[in-house]
Amino acid sequence: MNSFHQTQNLSFLLTEILAEFESAVIINQEGQTLGLRYEVLPDLGTFAPLVEMASRYFPLNEGDLVLTNDPYSGGTTLSVLNFITAFKVGDQKFFLAVRGRLKPKLSSAKSLEDEGLRIPPTPIATGREMNHALLEIIRSHPMAPEGFFEKVTQLSQSIWTQVDLVKSWAAKNPTLLSRQNQKNLLNETQRRIHKTIDELPNGDHRLDLTFETGEVIRLHTEIKDKEVHFDFAGTTHSSRIFLTDQSTYGTCLGAFLCFLGQDFLINESAFSMIQVTTPKDCLLNAKYPSPIFEGLAEITSLLGSAVIQSLAEITKSRSMGLNGSVSTILTLSFSGGQFFFDPVAGGTGATDDSNGLDAFYFWVLSRRQPSIEEIERLYPITVLQSGIRPDSGGKGKHNGGHGMIREILVKEAGSLRWLLGHRNIQNKGLKGAQAGKPSELSVIKASGEELVISDPHGEIAVQAGDRILAASAGGGGLGKSP
């Protein structure tokens, strides 16, 4: 077989290995990312530091497994569990890191420690022997994420299976994972990326995102001599919403790849595509113990859209109105710790030549709308309606996508938490088009009294017989209506 067939098949092999997981990475012993599968944009910037951190503090031999959910150790949010293991093929060592997502709890905490249980990098298995006593201690913690033990069991088994499969494949077909073939793969990707970037014109663009609460994200995008730089100098501090610099980097890279329409397996070469500068002390370069959840839910979507807008301005191509998919998130908690997490998808922004999409999680890859029958089997609620929110997309030459409407009848007393996002910036139209309708939330009490909620986030008690009416935002339109 020719060397380029080997290179193609290495890429295919890595895709097959990673396909078992929603997001995962394989890194070689030189610390180079060979393949990365991502579910949300911050995954792109956080996996390499995660493996670097785990392997720095733990020797990581075959069969060892390290667990963490700490956003300041390469994690994303506390509801996402990160597993890191190592395996050998011939004389080479590889690292496999995998993410498992649990239902997040809505939180407007002042500190990370109040958002949930933080698990620093912790060895949970040696020689594939799980440390059940330690896992039980974590599981029994009152702030442990729901479904912790089941997720650890399921993912650790999947990890061991995939490692076995890689090793048995490589034993019979040793050349695919050879050092030379890895080098060829990285070089080929580099060549392909340079070809794409070479086509971008020089230019720069400045954009400010100002939040209702006063914070400003200032983005200066510059393309110069085949280099792409996202500079956040001038971005303010916040006392409320934060993103780690690794998540900021991942968001910029992911949005950049989305803009380019690139669909290839991400590897080390992709990381050389862009440069991101986040000043110290700004809200995009959070330090422990700043809380993370709200920032990750809101800022990544806004930032992703902002990167696309800036690139569209510089390249004069591929514009997109702002997405209405910024947080319209509800959590209904019931006695016994049961809670229903409901991100109500908004409409996406229109583009130069197409309408936006109705009710769609634009910046999350597993875009599955949950089944009504599944929801009602699990939680004491009845969904009275679920569908497209009519006339909510911004009108224009191309219309923004409509948001979604969901009405829920509560059958047991509980509490409702919500996050409505920053309604002043989330869904503006572009080039003379209208904005999408902002998100709306109300609770109609069993007595008939209607409580219209205007705070961007908060919590209230709900009783059996109350109805919750949530409407997510529409996407912004693009261009003047004819």
Partner: protein, 476 residues
């Protein structure tokens, strides 16, 4: 002898597999077959449907060997039209409040971040979805009773709009089927063709069930035409014509079985190997599939999303015989992700402009398929050589060595997919390789196979016919 009716021969049993572009007909003598389970058919034909019309071809065969007493059919023919925009006059009656829910549950493409994501177009028109204010809860209790007067209103609208087929899609109909049954009966009495299949007890997602009703309704007309086309070949002689459903049961008129019948071939293939192997790797002319003999799945992962069909667990491989071969972003000639089809056909059939995997396999193995044309092969060789000359990384522009290298790559992809998609993971699994292209690819696969034991089915080329005969003998 054109125009002359064929004689009926009662000891003949015929078995027909209809694919999207190929069809296999095998005829067995009942007496011989009883004596030997592995008996050879008295007649076996492989038809290339774009060139050989099914009805006329069958009629010719009956004239030569006689009309059989019974014809059992497993058909994937309806898949052919699934890519076309369907719907037309199919209406859906759904629980009120969820009229646009089927649209939001449509799969979104592409499966990576893209500026212009789009939903797969719905099978049936979104303007023909009607809400019915009834409601059943998750515990099966009626939260809102059915109002029959609403049905009268919908009925008059549907008649005004010229609708012929109605799908009844109500929440929790698997727990409390009474509402669905009453609505279905009402529309049947109004002379609509009604689609309201009985859901699986374990079903806990409404949408795969709703989609199944819609797909059955959309395929109903084509299915009837397909059955009529086969019947026409008998020139009015009475023949027991039966189709197989997804559980391998016989049916003829039940339109609720259409979607499931697309998978009947998996069930019969599984039946032939379940005592011998954990998995079956089927390398047919049209599709390449990995199939479990141990596990079942409640769903078909279709391009419209999940559809509730209980079948043996299977994976359609990414590597397919119809994948295009083109210069790749990585350099060299590569297997693209673009799937072509047998219409107009591979280059070696003399009918297309783009090379595909089956062309490369023919170049290496000389497949000796009836539609292969020498001028097609010459054009393919010229095109592969021309493509190769434009690729600086290639040192050898000889099309034979190019084809051989591509064959190795194809085999490696198949082996990798089979390896990493083990459906019943165990270290010592047994996989049987079957299908029309199995004997050719077996020697290469055997060398690189890393997933336990790989066995070649000695009857790979006509395994489906044999399995169909054996299955029918078991159930009748």
């Amino acid at each position: 002898m054109a125009g002359q009716k064929a004689k009926k021969v009662t000891q003949l049993k015929a078995f027909l597999q209809v694919g999207v572009s190929f069809s296999q007909i095998s005829i067995f003598d009942e007496e011989q077959s009883k004596k030997n389970q592995n008996a050879e058919p008295v007649r076996f034909d492989l038809l290339y449907l774009p060139q050989e019309a099914l009805s006329a071809s069958l009629r010719k065969i009956w004239q030569e060997v006689g009309v059989p007493e019974r014809l059992i059919v497993t058909s994937r023919f309806m898949e052919k039209i699934l890519d076309a925009k369907l719907g037309g006059t199919v209406a859906q009656v759904v629980t009120a409040g969820f009229e646009t829910w089927p649209i939001l549950r449509q799969p979104v493409l592409p499966d990576y971040f893209d500026l212009k994501p789009h939903r797969q177009a719905p099978l049936a028109s979104k303007d023909l979805v009607f809400g019915l204010s009834e409601r059943v809860g998750a515990d099966g209790k009626v939260l809102k009773a059915l109002d029959m007067s609403e049905l009268e209103f919908i009925n008059s609208k549907l008649k005004l709009m010229g609708v012929k087929r109605v799908c009844v899609n109500l929440l929790f109909s698997q727990i409390y089927p009474e509402h669905q049954k009453r609505v279905a009966d009402f529309f049947r009495q109004q002379d609509f063709e009604v689609f309201a299949f009985e859901r699986h007890n374990e079903s806990c997602d409404e949408m795969p069930a709703w989609r199944k009703n819609v797909i059955n309704a959309c395929l109903s007309g084509v299915f009837s035409e397909h059955a009529e086309e086969i019947l026409r070949s008998f020139d009015g002689q009475p023949v027991d014509l039966q189709f197989l459903d997804h559980r391998g049961q016989l049916f003829f008129a039940d339109k609720n079985q259409i979607a499931g019948s697309l998978f009947s071939w998996l069930e019969i293939l599984k039946g032939d190997f379940e005592n011998e192997a954990d998995e079956i790797l089927h390398l047919g002319l049209e599709t390449w599939t990995l199939l479990s003999t141990r596990e079942r799945s409640l769903h078909w992962e279709s391009s419209w999303g999940r559809i509730e069909v209980d079948t043996p667990k299977m994976i359609r491989l990414k590597t397919q015989p119809t994948l295009e071969i083109s210069p790749g972003a990585w350099g060299g000639l590569h297997l693209s992700t673009e799937e072509l089809s047998y219409e107009p056909g591979p280059m070696c059939f003399g009918r297309a402009q783009k090379p595909m995997v089956i062309d490369v396999l023919n170049e290496t193995f000389n497949l000796k398929l009836k539609p292969i044309q020498p001028q097609g092969i010459r054009r393919l060789q010229d095109q592969l050589t021309a493509l190769a000359k434009n690729i600086p990384e290639l040192s050898d522009h000889n099309f034979q060595s190019l084809s051989q290298a591509l064959c190795q790559q194809i085999a490696q992809r198949i082996a990798m997919e089979a390896h990493f998609h083990q459906m019943h993971y165990k270290k010592s699994r047994k996989t049987v390789l079957t299908g029309h292209l199995a004997p050719e690819l077996f020697p290469i696969l055997k060398k690189i196979w890393a997933s336990g034991e790989l066995l070649l089915d000695p009857r790979s080329k006509d395994r489906l016919s044999l399995a169909l005969k054996n299955h029918t003998e078991r159930i009748l």
